[in-house]
Amino acid sequence: MASQDKPVQAPVRHIRIQPARAWVALELQELWHFRDLMFILMMRDIKLRYKQTVFGVVWVIIQPLIASLIFAVIFGRFAGLPSGGVPYLLFVYAGLLPWNIFAGALQRAGNSLVGDSKLISKVYFPRMVIPVASSGSILVDFAVALAVMFVLLLLNGWQLSLNLVLLPVFTLMVLLISVGLSLFISALNVYYRDFMYALPFIIQVLMYASPVVYSGDLIPELVKPFYAINPMVGIIEGFRWSLLGTGEFPALPLAVSLGIGILLFIIGGLVFQRIAQNFADVI
């Protein structure tokens, strides 16, 4: 049909539509192209989250604070666990900061695709935008919690060190891990809603497998190899090193975090991209 007509060349955007393939590239440039959508969806999530709450941002402050207080009393006071000379409240709070990014991102992203099924069945955009935006919305909570951290440090007369410079790097690393895992879970949740029920439980188990409420020094030799591959270990220790200035720079655990983070992101992304091709048909 009309074979004498030559398709237009060069500046015109060309899209080829073809059947689903076994593996699709991560298409991060496409994700970047839709960054405005990602940002706006993130803003939507944030606005909706606090729109009809009376205390709004107060919840963001209170939740980690109360949790830290409880952990500090139980593990620091009652159990008398060591915290390397740091007040137990500060110790736990610094650990909860990255942990809450991880747990929050996973929880929000997990159900995000199902929640936006109307968008998925009516418009095109890289599907990754949705879980990434949902995970990203946790950063607002993090910013508030971080501000509270500084207040706590100030109240305790704690001296900040130059180690703080690396905090943004650690934050990016925990995002990498969280988003990678979020992609995986959100995609599978489209097929098996079981994940939404299992997730809170899994997150809780993982929390006790990470040095959030206790110090990593307490880990017995026997479990160390398993403990060492947990990517959150390096991150949490990195946060404590950076904010509290205690201990040595956790070089090896951080290297593990970065390596596993990249791996999780790539695997999560590839699995997501593969499954995403059929979202509109199954969601």
Binding site: P7, I15, I17, D36, K51, K118
Partner: protein
């Protein structure tokens, strides 16, 4: 202007239908299959059948061409548009699109009732593929077009349905893609709104952009499109000028007095699963003007919905809307629907209509907030001559409808006498 904008070659899409008799699938079963063959979701399940929603579709669209795609429900129109909009992938074949694609399969996609008009403009614009800068640049135009200036910072859940639709369409109307793919978006909203949409659409069509347009409204197809493709059972049966395509479509259309859908649809709060045309309790697709048509709609509500309403629209055979009605026409109350199955019935006297084909479309929505479900003009029936004197009288008159109205006659002198009496007391 003979360059190609869209080239479709051998496109097809199949779905796997699993028969209910094969029983439940459990996560356990799937896990076992997953371990054996990752990602091939249950392709070894026994009772599966392949259904081709679209098969062997090939056509070219030149730049600046406006192509109408018509066909009955289930002919594959929506599947074709979904593939070309990159929402879903084809099973075989491929398509090339040259130029930025904008697709509009629904107005107001992504609108959130809790967000304000302003926030929704940005959200919806971004969803349609506009950058924040694009939206910013056209913001005033969009607001002016939608006529919602005073309500920009009001959550859209407080908008009237007219305002909501205007805003939703305004955003869509201001995206400027090179290739525009539009599904039945004119189907919703009132007559004035539809006129506005149609006006904007023809503006777009004349502006040299490539447009793919799906509609049940044949007069809209004829106005907007020069070329028409008629789909039937997933294949192209005719690719010609739109007059011919529309003529063939109307000729081959069968009457249909029942729509049935699967009774369960978990994605919807309200799911219309059955609609039928009845004459004294009997299903039929042919009525005499002296008879009364009963439209029966059954829906399943899965959760409490406040202010939900069921509505239908009544159109001529060529898809021009005559009127619409909702189940709250008389009560005007904003009731609520409780979970469970509901049956709605509406009686439509037919004596005001001419002989010919008519269509009824069904929809449910929470006005101003969301569309719950709709079936685009699935019911087609005919009104026939019952050779009553009333009918004959009607057919000789002018107009699309021929109502018989009650008149009062009295002597002019009596009227003036009454008036005088009235004045003197």
């Amino acid at each position: 202007m003979s360059e190609i904008a869209i080239r479709v070659e051998g496109l097809g899409k199949s779905y796997q239908i699993t028969h209910a008799t094969s029983g439940y699938r459990t996560l356990q079963e799937d896990l076992r299959a997953l371990i054996k063959r990752p990602f091939s979701r249950g392709s070894d399940a026994p009772r599966q059948e392949t259904f081709w929603a679209l098969k062997d579709i090939s056509f070219d669209v030149k730049q600046g061409e406006v192509l109408g795609i018509i066909g009955r429900n289930g002919a594959g129109k929506s599947t074709l548009l979904k593939i070309l909009s990159r929402i879903t992938k084809p099973t075989i074949g491929h398509a090339d699109i040259y130029g930025r694609v904008g697709s509009l399969l629904e107005v107001g996609t992504g609108f959130h009732p809790e967000l304000t008009g302003r926030e929704n403009i940005f959200l919806n614009g971004a969803v349609l593929g506009m950058s924040r800068r694009d939206i910013q640049a056209r913001f005033d135009e969009i607001v002016a077009f939608a006529e919602v200036e005073q309500f920009l910072d009001t959550p859209v859940k407080r908008y009237s349905s007219g305002m909501y639709m205007r805003l939703a369409f305004a955003v869509a109307a201001h995206m400027e893609p090179e290739v525009l793919v539009v599904d039945e978006v004119l189907a919703v909203g009132d007559a004035a709104f539809q006129k506005k949409c149609l006006g904007k659409m023809s503006e777009v069509a004349k502006g040299g952009r490539t447009v793919l347009f799906v509609s049940h409204n044949m007069s809209a197809i004829l106005t907007l499109c020069k070329r028409g493709i008629l789909l039937e059972k997933g294949g192209i049966v005719l690719d010609s000028d739109s007059n011919q395509a529309v003529a063939q479509y109307l000729n081959t259309e069968e009457l249909s007095s029942v729509v049935e859908r699967p009774i369960y649809d978990s994605t919807k709060k309200l799911h219309i699963y059955h609609a039928t045309l009845l004459n004294h309790g009997k299903v039929t697709n042919s009525f005499a003007t002296s008879e009364t048509l009963t439209l029966q709609i059954k829906c399943r509500v899965s959760q409490r919905i406040r202010e939900a309403q069921i509505a239908f629209d009544f159109a001529t055979g060529s898809g021009e809307y005559l009127f619409s009605s909702t189940h709250q026409d008389f009560t005007g109350e904003k009731g609520e629907l409780t979970p469970g199955d509901h049956v709605f019935e509406c009686e439509i006297p037919l004596q005001m209509f001419r002989q010919g084909q008519y269509r009824i479309g069904i929809a449910s929505s929470v006005p101003n907030v969301e569309m719950l479900d709709f079936i685009e003009q699935p019911l087609v029936f005919e009104i026939v001559d019952d050779s009553s004197p009333m009918f004959k009288l009607g057919q000789e008159r002018k107009g699309i409808i021929v109502p018989m109205l009650q008149w009062q006659i009295s002597k002019a002198s009596e009227v003036s006498q009454k008036e005088t009496v009235g004045l003197s007391t």
